[in-house]
Amino acid sequence: MHLVLFFIFGGLCVAGALNLLFQRHPINSALSLIVVMSSLAVLYLLLGAEFLAAAQVIVYSGAIMVLFTFVIMLLNAGREERTHGSKAAYAIGIPGAAALFAALAYIFISNGSRMGMTTPGRSLITTTDLSRVLFRDLLLPFEVTSVLILVAILGAVALARREH
């Protein structure tokens, strides 16, 4: 059951990712990315992280991707033209990416056995546990994040504001 779901949504992820890769128009890429994220959310559920799944849908598929589409529209970016600015990206980069994948895959598979299986349904981590950790053990990072967001806002303002 789980396995089937995993393969369905995992496949969906990969498909979406590949679609992002092959679509020429940014909007399509954006949409396919949303697909990826949503199906990831499902996988989170399978891994027993409901809250995260929700957050994933809301924050990612919702907020962030909306922002993306918004900017795409704003700059009304058309189909990307196939310029050939970079040989290295193909000659070096793609093999690099492939090697990277190969290496990671090898590592995971070779160590996979020790990982064992997912145990569905077991011990759903409740929001309570989350908040306990988040606001107690990781209080400081949480607070510091506010600085991060400040910086982001400031930066966005500073950069996007028109010169006069």
């Binding site: 789980h2 995993f6 995992g10 992820c13 992002l20 890769l21 940014p26 890429s29 954006a30 990315l33 990831l40 996988l43 399978l46 891994l47 027993g48 992280a49 809250f51 924050v59 990612y60 962030i64 922002l67 993306f68 900017v71 700059l75 970016a77 990307e80 033209e81 050939h84 600015g85 970079s86 990206a89 980069g93 793609i94 690099g96 990416a97 492939a98 990277l100 994948f101 990671l104 895959a105 995971f108 598979i109 996979g112 990982m115 064992g116 299986m117 997912t118 569905p120 011990s123 981590i125 989350l130 950790v133 053990d137 990781l138 994040t145 982001a152 930066g155 966005a156 950069l159 996007a160």
Partner: protein, 100 residues
């Protein structure tokens, strides 16, 4: 009953596709998206391990990653706009004024 390693491999696949996309896509925004894809792949790993260790901190980490992603998105898109203003293009290949 799904081996954790499956999730890991899946994340590896997504991550690598992200990398490949970064390399191949010409539109800056799409390139940026591929970064988001990579981050998502990482998130999957975190969640998988969190499940494995039955640990909260892993999931928390994902939260923070999301926040960071959001922040980056804001800034990144602002930068993209700035570039578009000066260059009037969104093609990465044409943003190579400085070289050698």
């Amino acid at each position: 009953m799904v081996p954790i390693s499956y999730y890991l491999v899946l994340s590896a696949i997504l991550f690598s596709i992200g990398v490949a996309a970064f390399l191949i896509k010409r539109n800056i925004i799409t390139v940026f998206m591929s970064i988001e894809l990579m981050l998502n792949a990482v998130n999957l790993t975190f969640v998988a391990f969190a499940h494995y260790f039955h640990q909260v901190s892993g999931q928390i980490f994902v939260f923070f990653v999301m926040v960071v992603a959001a922040a980056e998105a804001a800034v990144g898109l602002a930068i993209i706009i700035a570039v578009f203003r000066t260059r009037n293009t969104l093609n990465v290949d044409q943003v190579d004024l400085m070289k050698l």
